[in-house]
Amino acid sequence: MAKTPVNFTLNGSPRSAFAGPGQNLLDFLRREVGDLTPKFGCGQGTCGACTVTIDGATHLSCLVLAESVEGRAIGTAAGLPDGATLDPLQEAFMDHFAAQCGYCTPGMLVSARALLDANPRPSRDEVIEAISGNLCRCTGYEPIIAAILAVAEGRARA
């Protein structure tokens, strides 16, 4: 079957690539576009490791058809740093030891960034709700919650 050209923006830059029939957005981003920050965890929308934003809203890229992002704006963890300057969330994740094996971290960061963009001063419960779709096996979640709250409350390193 023929591949479909897909035009979209990735972290603000215009991109084009060919999507295979039925290819999901996660596979498309990793194989055709070369952004390896979204991770394959379960492939069925239950772990959150593949979380990306589409037009600013979080989506599980393993459940999105690649062809459907024509003209849309995709955001991944690769778009968080500004050149050599990390996003405050990335700094806070380091300061709070919010990653161990690191597999969930890109998805966590995307979910957290989307939360803070929509609600810069979330409560603890709002932080918990925002990351409740992202599974973590290592940290026990508390360091992740603490890191996000540190940015929200302006306590993180600038």
Partner: protein, 340 residues
């Protein structure tokens, strides 16, 4: 429906490493022409901090800045032999091997520096900032980079060291059964508070207070990270994770993240951790291994807390709502221990 509150306590001794035929780890350390050092290990870092801790240990032993040490765990085919990252053995076994390898490399580095400074290697000290100087005479000095370059390009000397740490197989005394399978124990004590719902059988862990004895905490932040995450996993094993039940047939068992349950960020309990440091005699700079023992005390403590709360003694993990309800039914309802 009533929520019953209970508290449970448990304490554990946890052996570091294993001994099913000897438990060796090897490390190789060598300097590069730029004066930096590479530590080759075959035990991997899976997020627990293996690279950070062995880097600290190598820098401390070599007497060079931590920025001058690179730990390479890239390939267990080509690297020195290691049993692996398991059994909470990493810090203790690999750390000891890294100390020995670093001591040997340090000695050659000092000999190379001694030749350049025309002094005895025994009179040289390192400042940990990248300099080697004569004891008591800081002006008689050479950088570790210059010493490495002299060894490489002038003296034809390899600044390198080999290290192995082996806990040999312990024979079993045929008369008494006595043996020494381990050299070091870590210890932990845990007090948890639970709430048990006597209508649904659900158990919620609401608070954890712990004390972990880890030898010397070589990297306190990494230790705390591991204890916090590990205790969460212990709580998960205690009250959540299971591939049962699978009524009526095995193909109905939990098999994905929708049905294999773990506590999410909304289910975590506050965890108050005290880290006790009693440096181990045979540990690298006193370190033990805060690996698996961070999860272990949570399980019996939760079981004891459930007994305290409703008088149901669960003897098979995890403590699922079904088991609690069956226990309550057998006992004729909740019998909080305080009320007995």
């Amino acid at each position: 429906m009533t929520l019953h509150k209970g508290r449970g306590f448990a304490a554990i001794n946890y052996p570091i490493g294993m001994n099913l035929g000897g438990d060796p780890s090897q490390a190789l350390v060598h300097s590069n022409p730029d004066g930096k050092f590479t530590v080759a290990l075959s035990a991997i870092d899976l997020g627990q901090g293996m690279k950070s801790v062995t880097r600290q240990i190598a820098a401390e032993t070599l007497g060079v800045p931590i920025a001058d040490v690179y730990v390479d765990t890239a390939d267990s085919d080509t690297g020195p032999h290691d049993m692996g990252s398991f059994a909470s053995r990493g810090t203790h076994r690999m750390g000891n091997a890294v100390i020995r390898a670093s001591e040997e490399a340090r000695q050659v580095m000092l000999e190379a520096a001694a030749e350049e400074l025309e002094v005895d290697a025994g009179d040289l000290v390192t400042d940990g900032q990248g300099n080697i100087h004569v004891r008591g005479a800081p002006s008689r000095t050479i950088t570790t980079m210059a010493a490495s370059q002299a060894a490489q390009f002038k003296q034809g000397r390899t600044i390198a060291g080999r290290g192995i740490f082996l806990v040999p197989l312990s024979d079993v005394d045929p008369e008494t059964g006595e043996m020494s399978p381990v050299t070091t124990f870590a210890h932990a004590a845990m007090l948890v508070t639970v709430e048990v719902d006597d209508e649904t059988g659900e158990v919620a862990v609401t608070d954890m207070q712990s004390a972990y004895e880890v030898g010397r905490a070589l990297n306190p932040k990494l230790v705390e990270q591991q204890l916090r995450g590990g205790a969460w996993m212990g709580m998960s094993h205690a009250a959540w994770e299971t591939t049962e039940p699978h009524y009526p047939a095995r193909d109905h068992r939990p098999e994905d993240f929708n049905t294999y349950l773990m506590p999410g960020p909304g289910d975590i309990a506050p965890h108050h951790i005290s880290i006790l440091e009693r440096p181990a005699e045979d540990g690298p700079y006193g370190g033990k291994g805060p690996g698996e023992m961070c999860a272990n005390p949570v399980l019996p403590a939760v079981v004891n807390a459930v007994y305290d709360a409703v008088g149901v003694r669960i003897d098979e993990l995890p403590v699922t709502p079904e088991k609690v309800l069956r226990g309550l039914q057998a006992n004729g309802g909740a019998k909080p221990r305080q009320a007995l």
